[in-house]
């Protein structure tokens, strides 16, 4: 069920798991959109020639996935801040999962904090971050 107001948020609750589209097609389109052409985001073989395990999902696309996840959970949420650490590459065409947990709830000003993690199928954390989100007071 989508969250509408701060009163519906429970401290410690998990956000619904989000499966981002980390396909090479999406990573490649995104990289070209933001002007980051080059094999590391568009071509597995070319990325391997650069010493990478495969083509990567651009870091800022991972950040965008985290925000989209929050909006799926609470459609009217306003992102006040998000800080993201790129711990290891997110390899395109590998399945990844985003999890989130509410770590602070302020019912007076309507703000919540959410810890977010992008993990691969081995359960390894690739990206993590924290978002401060404004929700309607209701």
């Amino acid at each position: 069920m989508a969250i509408s107001t701060i009163q519906e948020v429970v401290f410690g609750e998990d956000l619904p798991t989000f499966i981002p589209d980390t396909s090479l097609a999406i990573a490649s389109q995104f990289a070209k959109l933001v002007g980051w052409g080059g094999p590391r985001f568009t071509d597995h073989e070319g990325a391997r020639k650069e010493g990478l395990p495969g083509a990567m999902v651009p870091g800022i696309l991972n950040q965008g996935y985290l925000v989209a996840m929050i909006h799926h959970w609470a459609p009217d949420a306003e992102i006040k801040a998000i800080d993201t650490v790129f711990r290891a590459p997110v390899i395109a065409d590998e399945k990844h999962t985003i999890s989130g947990v509410v770590t602070d709830v302020n019912e007076e000003d309507g703000q919540v904090e959410i810890d977010l993690t992008v993990s691969n199928e081995k359960g390894e954390t690739r990206v993590f971050g924290t978002a401060t989100v404004q929700l309607p007071l209701g």
Binding site: Q29, Q63, H71, H72, E78, T84
Partner: protein, 149 residues
């Protein structure tokens, strides 16, 4: 540069922090912000439908906007630089179809010592303003430089 000492960090902080070193204007095309939102997996109409009364760029769109240079001229080369993370603060929505200005300064310089040696972090911040001078957002880029062995 050889081994990094605390004084190198202190000198860099004194010389470079909080001084604008770049200014650039950015046109924000609606078709680009819509595609950005779609690729991120956004489904909310305010990011996808230009007819929506609150039509806006997705909040992290500003993270894709780069200034003319990432670090100040003459900034010391502490080691090989890698992208360590991004941060965004949102104050007001960025409206597609407008032109915004980004001013860049070095927001922080600090070091950490890990198992693989010492690392220096430099945080470049672009502050974005609309044509009326309203502060819309900040986008931070964190670069980590590993000490050359």
């Amino acid at each position: 540069m050889g081994m990094i000492v605390d004084q190198d960090i202190a000198e860099a902080r004194d010389q470079f922090l909080n001084q604008d070193f770049d200014e650039k204007t950015f046109v924000i095309p609606a078709e680009k912000t819509i595609e950005y939102a779609r690729l991120c997996g956004e489904t909310a109409a305010r990011f996808l439908d230009p007819a929506h009364p609150d039509f806006q760029a997705p909040p992290t769109f500003v993270a894709s906007l780069s200034g003319s240079r990432a670090l100040p001229e003459n900034f010391p080369r502490f080691g090989l630089g890698m992208d360590a993370g991004k941060g965004v603060e949102c104050f007001l929505p960025v409206r597609p179809g407008t032109t915004i200005t980004g001013r860049t300064h070095l927001h922080d310089i600090y070091s950490k010592t890990g198992r693989s040696g010492r690392m220096v972090f430099a945080v470049s911040r672009i502050e974005f303003f609309d044509a009326a001078g309203q502060h819309l957002a900040n986008a931070d880029s964190r670069v980590v430089m590993r000490e050359k062995s």
